[in-house]
Amino acid sequence: MQISSHIGSQLVDLCSALLLLTCFAIVAQRRLSACVDLFALQSAFLVLTAALVAFLTGNHHIYIAAGLTGLIKVIIIPRVLKKVIERLNVKRELVMNVNVPAGLLICGALVMLAFFITQPILPLGFLLTRDSLAIAFAIVLIGFFTMIARQKAVSQMVGFLVMENGLFLGATAATYGMPLIVELGVFFDVLIAVLIAGIYTNRLQDAFDSADTSHLTVLKE
């Protein structure tokens, strides 16, 4: 069924806005398990956006990418993270590098920065997904910022995964999905990265009996 392109682009913008919202929620969240759930929600929205773009533009290989994202980022990774959280029985992000209100303010500034920087290249993009490239870049920056702001290993991984989501959104928005080999490679790498991070947090837990990365300052200058 054909929906007029105008409504389509509005729908895509709605989904991207929702993604941005979940980003802000993650930054504002103290409890780790809530963070992981929010990340799962964000991945779900991502899948929705990808499916929408695939549907509107008729590029069927985006469906495969959306399916893979759904499988990995909505189901497998949250479960892995939840298991890691239980094993470490660490519930809340007690000490933060940047407290929540300041963090939100900075995220706002990052969004403005993202729009300012991608401003000249937007007219090049496809009509349908023009604005979501800027949002994607904003999500990448926010993900990066969460990694800096939070101290727990798990929340750093969540920040890293939010960055990956931003990149995937960028890829779908800017180029309707990367070539298949690259797409597969990216997924494979993200999965391996998370698995390795999980193993690391376990070993760090045994070695330092706390998953708080701020203790890791033995190696200096």
């Binding site: 590098n97 920065l113 990066f144 190696l219």
Partner: protein, 472 residues
């Protein structure tokens, strides 16, 4: 090349090759490096290695920069030469380690060479090419002479080290009787480095004196006055060098041996003596036969100065050496040598004529009634103590004397410990601050690697933002 770059090339070459040559502010490595090498190596280092820097300096200034340069270049080289010569010999006086004494003398002789080259450069600036060639030739002649007598002295020091296993002059004494050959060759080296008449050091220093005295041909009044002042400093340097080597030779070779090592010292094997002998002969020949050396050097200097001055240098068919015009002054070392020999024969003749060669009697030296022990002799430190007082401003000596008195009396000491140091001025006020500043910078920089992962992530984040904002 634009003017600014030429000056930069001049200054950088001066600093770079100056460090290699060991001019004063940059000489600190020399007294550490030369003595620690085995003696024949330090002979090579002092004799040849620092001359490569002189070669490079002349090549850069007279060849690459084409020989036209402002007057103040030559003036700087002259001033550095004078200062190096004076400070070199002053620090040498204070040494009681024979090989670092010789190392400091290398600094002094490099100063003398630079005096010659500096005078040459000044004359070149004002177009007096004849005198420029003379200055350069004097500098190069002294380079050869210094190579010869410094190598001889280092080999001599090496033989002493070989025989007595120590470099400290205070532990030598009376070695001339036990090591006559080494003593004789060391004496020839000492005489030639103190630039005494018949030897080669005198000829080249005389030539440097003449090139400095020819300054009244220069138009600029300042230079007309400064060059003779440099000549006065050169005179002071050479007489201090004379004192230094009187001390070095006297304290090491004469009077009674002051340590068991010195008592059991044996003459070095024949091969070492041959080496020293050869060098001694060359030193004497270089002194007596400037008419052979000057033409060779003239061929070196001619391309730089643009004309050959050999004709003007050798008067009386080679017998006399004249600084470009005979009428100004001339020197003939062969005649002087002949004169000295003849007159000492005359002395013998007078002795024979008036009193006949009465057999001399041997008896112990007068020691105010008590018989003389080696401890009563003048040591190297004692010998130069007056000079240390006179030039105290330069040395800033610090003296430490601890006396451990006997329990029962206030006056009789069980043990006295005397220690004197001269201020390592350059080390303290020039090199240590520079090193401290670099280490300080590094210490401050150390703070960026504090170990926290979040800080490192923040670095990447900020770099990305900055580049995106400013470089796009």
């Amino acid at each position: 090349m634009p003017e600014g770059i030429r000056t930069l090339v001049f200054l950088m070459a001066l600093i770079g090759f100056g460090t290699k040559a060991g001019i004063v502010p940059l000489h600190v490595w020399l007294p550490y490096a030369h003595p620690s090498a085995p003696s024949h190596i330090s002979a090579l280092m002092s004799g040849v290695m620092i001359k490569t820097a002189i070669y490079a300096l002349v090549r850069v200034y007279f060849d690459f920069l084409g020989g036209q340069f402002p007057w103040w270049w030559g003036f700087i080289v002259l001033v550095i030469g004078a200062v190096s010569a004076l400070l070199g010999v002053m620090y040498a006086l204070m040494e009681h380690d024979l090989k670092s004494l010789l190392a400091y003398h290398s600094v002094e002789n490099i100063g003398i060479i630079l005096l010659g080259i500096g005078a040459g450069m000044i004359f070149q600036t004002y177009g007096l090419t004849e005198f420029a060639a003379l200055g350069l030739l004097a500098g190069l002649y002294h380079t050869i002479n210094h190579a010869m007598f410094k190598a001889l002295l280092f080999l001599g020091a090496g033989s002493l080290l070989y025989a007595t296993h120590t470099r400290n002059m205070e532990e030598y004494g009376g070695l001339l009787r036990r090591m006559p050959w080494t003593g004789a060759f060391f004496l020839i080296g000492a005489v030639s480095i103190s630039a005494l008449p018949p030897t080669n050091g005198f000829v080249s220093e005389w030539l440097v004196f003449q090139s400095l005295f020819l300054s009244f041909h220069l138009p600029a009044v300042l230079l007309k006055f400064m060059l003779p002042l440099a000549a006065a400093m050169l005179a002071l340097t050479s007489v201090l060098a004379l004192t230094c080597f009187a001390k070095a030779f006297g304290v090491s070779f004469l009077a009674l041996p002051r340590s068991s090592h010195a008592r059991q010292a044996e003459e070095v094997p024949i091969t070492m003596r041959i080496a020293m002998g050869l060098l001694a002969v060359v030193c004497v020949l270089l002194g007596l036969a400037p008419m052979v050396v000057v033409p060779m050097l003239d061929r070196v200097v001619a391309p730089f100065a643009g004309l050959s001055i050999e004709g003007k240098m050798l008067a009386l068919d080679g017998w006399a050496l004249a600084p470009v015009n005979v009428e100004f002054s001339s020197l003939s070392t062969p005649v002087l040598a002949l004169l000295l020999v003849a007159l000492s024969m005359l002395g013998l003749g007078l002795v024979a004529a008036f009193g006949g060669l009465v057999k001399q009697r041997y008896y112990k030296t007068w020691g105010c009634g008590i018989n003389l022990t080696p401890r009563m002799e003048y040591t190297a430190t004692g010998f130069v103590q007056p000079i240390k007082r006179i030039f105290g401003a330069i040395y800033q000596p610090t003296v430490k004397l601890e006396t451990e008195l006997l329990e029962e009396s206030l006056y009789f000491a069980k043990r006295r410990h005397f220690e004197f140091h001269i201020e390592p001025v350059f080390q303290k006020y020039f090199y240590d601050p520079v090193v401290a500043c670099f280490i300080g910078m590094a210490e401050r920089l150390r703070v960026i690697q504090r170990g926290s992962l979040h800080l490192y992530l923040a670095y990447i984040f900020v770099t990305l933002i900055v580049l995106l904002l400013f470089a796009v």
